[in-house]
């Protein structure tokens, strides 16, 4: 029958200890953070918004072939000789296969993910728009940047920098 293989502690441990464990959590500091005001800084590899360096791009189309979501289109840019990738962030799944495929390393990830807009067209970034975006432009409320660390007593946020100094 059930329970034969599982430890069965005494009555107090079964009834009172859960209560004590729950109550003890009141002393812990919250693990949540106030998002628009405090933002977690991504890691070095964090895959987010993709930027394009048009000076090195050779318009080979490898990124478009690699993209599993068919989120990359190619458009000519005035004054330049190739066609360059435009990214549809409505379809993009941030898998990073395009960045990995790029033979000249012209595409690069940033940790920005705040790309939401009111119209679908706002999600389509033309080649000339794929520039680095300052987070203040998309998230004006941000005051502080945090990074996550692991200490002996559990995970902790530490201040990376104040937002104003950017």
């Amino acid at each position: 029958m059930a329970g034969s293989e599982v430890k069965r502690p005494g009555f107090l441990a079964r009834v009172v200890k859960p209560f004590i464990h729950v109550a003890r959590h009141a002393l812990k500091s919250p693990v949540t953070h106030k998002y628009p005001f405090e933002r977690i800084k991504g890691f070095e590899r964090t895959r987010g918004y993709i930027t394009l360096n048009m000076d090195t791009c050779i318009g080979c189309g490898a990124c478009g072939y690699a993209c599993p979501d068919e989120a990359i289109y190619f458009f000519p840019v005035e004054g330049r000789k190739y066609t360059y990738p435009a990214i549809d962030y409505g379809k993009c799944s941030f898998c990073g296969l395009c960045v990995e495929t790029c033979p000249t390393a012209s595409l690069a990830h940033t940790d920005l993910v705040e790309l939401a807009g009111y119209e679908y067209e706002e999600l389509v970034y033309m080649p000339s728009e794929l520039k680095p975006i300052n987070i203040k432009e998309v998230l004006p409320e941000v005051r502080r940047f945090l990074i996550t660390t692991m200490t002996k007593d559990g995970p902790k946020y530490i201040l990376f920098k104040e937002g104003g100094e950017d």
Binding site: M1, A2, G3, S4, E5, V6, K7, R8, P9, F11, A13, R14, V15, K17, P18, H21, V22, H25, V31, G42, F43, E44, R45, T46, R47, A66, C67, P68, D69, S93, F94, C95, G96, L97, E100, H109, T148, M150, T151, K152, D153, G154, P155
Partner: protein
């Protein structure tokens, strides 16, 4: 309400029911239903039949994969289960490696193992949280588990670049080596997490009221578990010592020494308890993998086209065994991929259980979440 007369055909609908029965639609808009529906036939308290209505999130991943190259297929496959992406992806990547006849380098295998075990911990944490939440609208344990998986997600983001859907395994290895500072942080996280598991055990697993709700409820016998094709920790909780990591080792599991968690009770309590124990096993596996990790490359070149052929690859995901049957016709896209995920199999047992024993309406959510099903998984 009169007691109904019931006769069950062995594999089908209830043939004859008495008066006073009605159908409850638990889902698709219900606190516990998730992205599906359970049609519960009940007289108010006793449950006579549960029908699982899946398909609300059917995306046709099997069909989509026929249109993608092997590498492109990684992204849709991962969308099957967000919690457990690396294990799911391992099934797909492993099947491709099998049909292409390539072997990833040993270091890649160890990195895969670490990622998969971290993912398994994340998945089991969520399962434990949902089980606690279904037994009482008890969000404490659920939110603790949600908070405690966060360090693991941070680590996974540090290593792979994303919190979910890592797209990190490719046929022939992994996409990048371990970054600086990762191993130290992982070790610290494991040390801290061991203490947290103790809290879960004392606060929830030994909790008298939780035991009252789950012990002896929803018993799946060993024989039934095998015949109904149960998978994963649920199968092991019924006393079948099957674990794909042990029975058909893939990645680095063949070189590591770990135990299979089995229970004989087969009730909801054993299933919940098995997950907690498996988290401990996962910690053990990660530690061994860190210690034994060899040096070397992490990726080998993948041939553009496989030979025509077929392969069946089995992998142990967080929710149980998933297997991928792949048919290749020698082109750069698979001819047919059949994925049979764990939840798809587990739902059948949920349907069969009320026909073998007495289940009350209050047991339904606990019963369902003790199996840790996932509609997105089953729908594909």
């Amino acid at each position: 309400m009169t007691t109904p007369i019931k006769r069950y055909s062995p594999f089908g609908e209830i043939e004859e029911v008495g008066e006073g029965l009605f159908k409850l639609n638990v889902g698709p808009q219900h606190p516990i239903s998730g992205q599906g529906r359970f049609i519960v036939l009940t007289d108010g308290e006793r449950v006579f039949d549960i029908e699982v209505d899946i398909g609300y999130s059917h995306r046709g991943i099997e069909k989509i994969l026929e249109y993608k190259t092997f590498v492109q297929g990684i992204v849709p496959v991962e969308r099957m289960v967000m919690l457990d992406t690396s294990n799911i992806l391992m099934g797909y990547v492993g099947a491709i490696e099998k049909v292409m006849d390539i072997e990833p380098p040993p270091r890649a295998n160890y990195i895969r193992t670490i990622i998969m075990e971290m993912n398994r911990i994340v998945s089991h944490l969520y399962a434990l949280g949902l089980l606690s939440e279904s037994a009482a609208w008890n969000p404490a344990v659920f939110l603790w588990t949600t908070a405690d998986r966060e360090p693991f997600l941070d680590l996974l983001e540090m290593l792979t670049g994303a919190r979910w859907s890592y797209s990190f395994f490719v046929p022939g290895g992994v996409r990048a080596d371990i970054p600086r500072g990762f191993i130290e942080r992982l070790k610290a996280t494991l040390d801290w997490f061991e203490k947290r598991i103790e809290v879960y055990e004392e606060a929830w697993i030994y909790n008298e009221l939780f035991r009252m709700r789950t012990e002896g409820m929803g018993v799946v016998s060993r024989q039934n578990a095998i015949e109904w094709g149960l998978a994963g920790p649920n199968l092991r909780a019924s006393g079948v010592p099957y674990d794909t990591r042990k029975n058909e080792p893939y990645a680095a599991y063949g070189e590591l020494d770990f135990k299979i968690v089995t229970h004989t009770a087969g009730d909801s309590y054993a299933r919940g308890w098995a997950r907690v124990e498996e988290m401990k096993v996962s910690i053990d596996i990660i530690r061994q993998a860190i210690d034994n990790m060899p040096d070397g490359p992490v990726r080998v070149r993948m041939p553009p086209r496989p030979k025509p052929g077929e392969a069946l690859f089995r992998v142990e995901t967080g929710r149980g065994e998933m297997n991928v049957y792949i048919v290749s016709d020698g082109k750069e896209k698979p001819y047919r991929i059949k994925i049979s995920p764990a939840s798809f199999r587990n739902f059948y047992t949920i349907e069969m259980l009320p026909k073998t024993q007495e289940i009350l309406l209050a047991d339904v959510p606990v019963l369902i979440y003790s199996f840790d099903p996932w509609f997105l998984d089953a729908d594909r």
